[in-house]
């Protein structure tokens, strides 16, 4: 068989198979159950609609900022769309590593025609960042270790008399400082003003000092669920989705504390410096993946709330457990009675300083 003929046959076969050679698109996320929910809600329907796109997954979100900076310096950006937390999104935007978007022209409007900027509202915390889900960092506690009076307030964390035992907190100042001040009598709206002063920081550290010897510090999201499951801690902070799966999927004797949980966002950025055609593809994907229906669909697979107001009514039941998911959303009014809103801009200023102080405090 001649070479020409072989190639013709191969080419024809490909035409029938897929129409054209599929283009690879690399989407970076957190891996695990979270990535699975995105795959089910966004990627599978997107590839069905766009057979010429082949999505490749990369679970590198926890080091996305450093990697994007390295790629940017090397002038070779291999990622197309990246899932990051809001704070990282802001930083990437500041560093010029993420592309700026115009929400109203580049994102889908709500089904009723409300422009995207209004639908997302205050959650659009940076020009480069398209919010996707709302999650909460909150506390879970062992129902069998708290006696007859299960905790109802976040300040139970600081009450070692009523709730003796170890508690797990994240090994960084963010959230912990806020909770410390809140439980030391500072009003919610004054937290950042107080924390800006030396005295306020000292006050927060002093409050944390009272439980320092009872804390196991975590750095990976899986730590607290494991510590709770092993009975190593009586209560601990983690992401609400992790607690949901511990409670609902693994049936551990653990309950969730919906008080002063810190609202946070996770969303997409598109790296700056992509070629025009890759940028176009990335934008097309983001347009699809952040529309009202898609965000609502994701909640079927994981207990994080959709970032669009218009998605909330569409949240249904868990895909395998059949549980009604709405009551497990951090956005559910019943759960969101008392929430802490993090001040990203404030933390962008104070993170380096407070982190140094926090580490110094830890090692004392």
């Amino acid at each position: 068989m001649s070479l020409k003929k072989t190639m013709m046959i191969a080419g024809t076969a490909m035409l029938f198979a897929g129409g054209a050679i599929a283009e690879d698109m690399t989407i970076v996320s957190w891996g695990g159950a979270y990535s699975a929910s995105q795959e089910n809600a966004y990627d599978i329907p997107y590839m069905a609609k766009n057979p010429d796109v082949n999505i490749i997954h990369d679970a590198s979100s926890n080091e996305a900022v450093a990697k994007l900076r390295a790629m940017n310096e090397a002038g070779n950006i291999t990622w197309d769309v990246v899932d990051v937390v809001a704070a990282d999104g802001i930083r990437l935007c500041d560093e010029g590593l993420a592309m700026e978007l115009d929400a109203d022209t580049q994102l889908a409007p709500a089904p009723d025609g409300t422009p995207a900027s209004e639908d997302f509202g205050a959650l659009m915390v940076a020009d480069c960042f398209i919010p996707q889900i709302v999650y909460s960092t909150t506390f879970g506690y062992r129902t069998d270790m708290v006696g007859d009076t299960p905790p109802t307030s976040v300040c139970a964390v600081f009450d070692t008399t009523a709730y003796p035992g170890k508690r797990s907190l994240e090994k960084r100042p963010i959230n912990n400082m806020e909770w410390a001040l809140l439980c030391d009598g500072v009003a919610k709206e004054d937290i950042y003003d107080v924390l800006e002063t030396e005295a306020g920081q000292a006050q927060a550290f002093a409050k944390l000092d009272t439980i320092k010897s009872d804390v196991i510090w975590w750095s990976a999201g899986a730590d607290t669920p494991q510590l709770l499951a092993d009975g190593e801690v009586i209560m601990g902070s983690t992401y609400n989705g992790r607690l949901f799966s511990l409670i609902a999927e693994q049936n551990q004797p653990v309950a969730m504390l919906w008080d002063a949980q810190v609202y946070d966002l996770d969303g997409w950025i598109i790296p700056a410096g992509l070629s025009p055609e890759r940028q176009k593809r990335a934008l097309d994907y983001v347009y699809f993946a952040t529309d009202t229906q898609r965000l609502a669909d994701q909640a079927k697979y994981i207990s994080y709330g959709p970032a669009r107001k218009s998605s909330a009514p569409l949240v249904g039941k868990h895909a395998t457990l059949g549980i009604d998911m709405a009551p497990h959303m951090p956005t559910d009014p019943e759960n969101a009675k008392n929430v802490l809103l993090p001040n990203y801009e404030w933390w962008a200023d104070y993170r380096d300083d407070l982190d140094a102080k926090f580490q110094a405090w830890l090692s004392k």
Binding site: V65, G96, S219, D349, D355
Partner: protein, 423 residues
Amino acid sequence: MSDATNNGPVLSADGMPLKRSLAKALRREKLRALMLIAPLLIFVLVTFIAPIADMLFRSVENNIVEDTLPQTVVALKKWDSKSGSVPDEPVFTALAADLKVAVEAKTHTKLGSRLNYEMTGISSLLRKTGRRVDKWDLEKDAPFKEKFVDVDKDWADPEVWAVIKVFSSKYTSGYFLNAVDLQKTPSGIEPRDEDQRIYITLFMRTIFMSLTIMFSCILLGYPIAFLLANLRPKTSNLLLILVLLPFWTSLLVRTSAWKVLLQQQGVINDILVWIGLVDDGNRLIMINNQFGTIVAMTHILLPFMILPLYSVMQTIPVTYVRAAKSLGATNWTAFWRVYFPQSVPGIGAGCILVFILSIGYYITPELVGGTKGVFISNRIAYHISSSLNWGLGAALGAILLAAVLILYWAYDKIVGIDNVKLG
């Protein structure tokens, strides 16, 4: 034999001076040798030396201020940072012009992140100012001093300007100073506030804990290596596989296994409570502290001590100890005076391997170190991947590298590097 009597240079058969002829022949040989190692050399240069050199360069590099604010830097030269007053209008005009360009190129926020390492608040100051400067007209809207102060009163703070001036040079010692708990201020080098000092503590702790791990490895590894070297080959090969087994399991799995064993509700505590050695209410804390880190890392690094020891011990003939005994030495004297000195090269090699590996470890300390068991590498990792303060990370890394080289030098002086044998 004319060469011997001739006073001129010795000639080779073809009349060329012998020295040159020899050099030519040797050069060809050297060139061939170079060509043979060229692929490895290039590989190492490109993938190893160059990135490290680049990383080290970042520890002093500070182009960003001058690149982003070229006119401001020039204008600030005339301003005395110790005067206690805010710079004059020309500096603000220069800043407006510089920022207008920077906002266009979106580099002002980057500068904000850089200067925020030195003074908290500059990040938002520049972000906020950038949004407003974009709308100004350089020709018509002058003078700018009031306009800037109007945007944010921090521009009327001489300290902000002092920071810009102190960090306006192309190269800075700031990162290195920061890495040893000092800071660069307009009035010179000062120690950092007490509540921010951490790196010296971490360096000392890293070295102290690495030494502890190293000594634990010697204590545990020496008898095992001795046993391995003195058993029949069949048995010792089997035992060697057991020694190497940890190498074949993932680091994370091994570290997690230690968690299961050592935690308060873990296996060891359960057993101690069960046999009554420990009260249920007072379970031992063996993880998330230095003890846990030392245990887990000793386990991980033990093979690096056992293998060189084993291969050195294998070469020590049994007759030395026999000779010592026949000369009247007790078992202990024979071991301590005759066997042990000959196994020192193995200890040396093992120590160097274990110490250098542990000084740079960060996964295990991060997972089981708690607050007092973390190493300097954990902070380096934080600055590289999380805070993006690569300059500081590079400075910390450079100091760590220097510390290793100094210790290596000291080892060479005390023990002698010839006294290191891997087998």
